[in-house]
C-alpha cells in the first residue's frame, strides 16, 4: 500500500475534514502547519472569496493543503416541490411572522467547473478532494496536470471502484457515522450506507488505491482502530468543530458540548435537500429528519434561511443545521494546531 504521508507530502496521515460553513482558511493553515493536511471547503465560497482564501492559505503555510469541492449536478427548480416545501414549512413561517413571498434564493453551492479550475490553477493546490462523485474527466485531468493528488469520498464499495477506475489517488471511506453531507452519488438508497466498521475493511479489500477512513473517529484510539482495519490515513471533522479557528456558531458549539443532544444525530435532508448528519433539533423532530417535500440540493436551503435567521437571533438552534458526526466526544476547545498535534500522537509507535 502506498504511503499516504509521502503521497500527500505530510508529516502525519491525518486530514482535517473540509466543513463548509464551519471553517475557513484559518483552520486549514493551523492544521497544515502542525503537520496534518488542512482542508479548505470551497463549496459555499464565491469565486472572489475562494481566491482570497487561497491567498490566505499560501501566505499562511508552505506545507501541503487540500481544497474540497462538491460535484453535484445543479438542480432544475421544480415548482410543485417548492410549493410542497413551503406548505410543509407554513406553520413555522406563521409562527415567526415570515412572509413566504419574501424568500430569497438560498446560498448557492456551485459544483466544480472549468471556471473554478481556471481560478485555482495559479495556486496549484497540492491536494484536491471531491464530494458527490467527480467532475468530468477533462477537469480531473487538468487538476492532475499541476501535480495535485486527487481524493474523493465513497460510501459503498461500488462508489470506491467507480472512483478508482477514474484515477483518484486515494478513496475516502465515509462511514455512516460521519457528520455533514453524505457523499453518495451512485445510489440514493440510504440503506446502502454503512458504518465504518463494515465499510472500511470492505473498501480496503476491494481497492488497489489507499483508503482513508472517515466517520466516528474522535481520538487516538479511533485513529489506531481505523489503521488496524486497513486505513492508510484518517479524516477527522467533528473533533475540530470547537477549535478556536472554527466558525461554529455559539449555539452549535453548545449543542456539541451537551452530551444528551450530541449523542442523538440523524441524517436529514431538511436543510439542503441532500442527506447530511446533524444533531436532532426541533425541525428534524417535527417534520421527520428526511422529507420527500424538500427540494433538490441545494434548493431546500432557501426557505429554511429566514426561519434559521429569526430563530438564531433569538438564541435558538431549532432551524439550524447542527452538523455533527455520531461521535462528538473528541471535540476540544483548543487551537486546531494543538488538536492536530494531540491526535498525531496516535501515530507514534504504531506502524503498519
Amino acid at each position: 500500500m502506498p504511503n499516504l504521508k509521502s503521497l500527500l507530502g505530510v508529516e502525519h496521515p491525518l486530514i482535517q475534514a473540509p466543513m463548509a460553513g464551519i471553517q475557513t482558511s484559518a483552520m486549514a493553515v493551523a492544521v497544515s502547519n502542525a503537520g496534518g493536511l488542512g482542508s479548505l471547503p470551497a463549496a459555499m465560497l464565491t469565486p472572489d472569496a475562494l481566491k482570497k482564501e487561497l491567498h490566505a492559505i499560501t501566505a499562511g503555510t508552505s506545507k501541503p493543503y487540500n481544497v474540497n469541492f462538491f460535484c453535484h449536478h445543479p438542480p432544475s427548480p421544480d415548482a410543485a416541490r417548492e410549493a410542497a416545501w413551503q406548505q410543509a414549512l407554513a406553520p413555522y413561517f406563521a409562527e415567526h411572522g415570515i412572509d413566504p413571498a419574501s424568500i430569497q434564493p438560498g446560498p448557492g453551492r456551485a459544483p466544480f467547473s472549468p471556471e473554478i479550475c481556471d481560478l485555482i490553477e495559479p495556486f496549484a493546490p497540492p491536494v484536491v478532494s471531491f464530494h458527490f462523485g467527480l467532475p468530468p474527466p477533462e477537469l480531473v485531468e487538468r487538476v492532475k496536470g499541476w501535480g495535485a493528488k486527487i481524493l474523493a469520498s465513497a460510501t459503498t464499495v461500488d462508489e470506491g471502484l467507480w472512483l478508482q477506475a477514474r484515477g483518484v489517488d486515494a478513496v475516502i471511506a465515509q462511514g455512516l457515522e460521519a457528520g455533514g453531507h453524505r457523499g453518495h452519488f451512485l445510489s440514493d438508497d440510504l440503506t446502502r450506507q454503512k458504518g465504518l466498521f463494515a465499510l472500511l475493511p470492505q473498501l480496503e479489500q476491494a481497492l488497489k488505491v489507499p483508503v482513508i477512513a472517515a466517520g466516528g473517529i474522535a481520538d487516538a484510539a479511533g485513529i489506531n482502530a481505523a489503521r488496524v482495519l486497513g486505513a492508510a490515513a484518517v479524516q477527522i471533522g467533528t473533533a475540530y468543530m470547537l477549535c478556536h479557528e472554527a466558525t461554529t456558531s455559539p449555539l452549535h458549539r453548545a449543542a456539541l458540548q451537551n452530551p444528551t443532544m450530541a449523542r442523538h444525530t440523524a441524517l436529514t435532508n431538511l436543510f439542503t435537500g441532500r442527506p447530511a448528519r446533524g444533531i436532532v433539533n426541533r425541525l428534524m423532530r417535527e417534520l421527520g429528519p428526511l422529507s420527500g417535500a424538500a427540494p433538490e440540493f441545494p434548493l431546500a436551503t432557501a426557505a429554511i434561511a429566514p426561519l434559521r435567521a429569526k430563530a438564531e437571533a433569538a438564541g435558538s438552534g431549532d432551524f439550524s443545521p447542527l452538523w455533527s458526526g455520531a461521535n462528538a466526544r473528541g471535540c476540544k476547545a483548543v487551537g486546531a494546531g494543538e488538536l492536530t498535534e494531540e491526535l498525531a500522537r496516535a501515530f507514534r509507535g504504531f506502524s503498519r
Copy 2:
C-alpha cells in the same frame, strides 16, 4: 476493567453470537470446546426443545456456554393491523395461490419467564444473555443466584446505563452493522442506532462494567480494532453462518457468498415485526424494508410463513429473512471450532 476471560471463564474473550433459526447446540458446543463462549439461542425453542438442547450442550462440553433469551413484551393482536398486513401481502398470496384464511399462527418467540427460569435452573448455565432489555428484577436475581453471569445488548448509551443500573455483568455494544434483530428497548427511534465506531467508545466511556463489541467484526483486524476502541471482548455472529454446524439454509448460504447481494443489507421489520438486519431481497425491495403495516413482534411472521415456504420450495429467497451483518466477508465454510481458533489468533500478542 474486569478481565472478561476470567469473568466468563473462557480462554478467549470471544463470544459466538446467538442466532435463532441459524444454529443449535452443535455450534455452541464447538465454539466452547475451542475456547470461545458458545451461545444457544433459546428464543424460538419450545420448552421441550430447550431442555433437549441444554442436555446436548452439557453432554458436549464441560466449558462455559451462554444461553440467550428475548425480553420483549408479548404483543396484543391488533385486528386492524393484521388486516392492513394481509392487504399489503395480498398480491403475493395471489401470486403463490395462498388462501389468506389458511394462515396459521407463526412461530412463537416467548420472552424469558418464571417457567423458563424453572426449566433452565437445573442446568445452571454459566452465562445468560438477554436481548430487548432484561426480564423482571426477580428473574434476574434468580439467574444470578446460581452464579450465572448476565450479559445484555445496548444500542445506545442510555440503554447501557439502564442495563448497568440493573446489575448486568457486561454490556454488549450492538453496533448498527450487526445482523439479525436490533436489541433496542428504550426507544423505537431508529435514528438513535449508531455504527460501532461511534457506539463502542461512547459506551466504554459511560459505563463501569465491561463492554463487549458486536456488529461488523469479521476477522482478526476487526477484533483488534474493537479492542483498541475499548472492547473487553467481542461477539461475532455473521462470520459463523457458513460453518458446518450452522443450520443456515442453502439459499441463505448462497446469498451470503454472493458479494453483490451480501454487500446490501438493511434493517427490516417485515419478517417479524421488529427491525432486524438482513440481505435485501424482493419483499424488502418491493414493500420497502420498514413497513408501518407489519404487526407487532413477533406477529408479522405468521403471514410471511406460507409465502416463504412456497418460495423456498422453488429455490427462492424472495420471502426469507436472509439475516446478515453489514460485513459478511468473514464468513467461512469451516467447522465452528476451527473458525473460533482462527479468530482467537487475534488475541495473541495483543494486550490491553
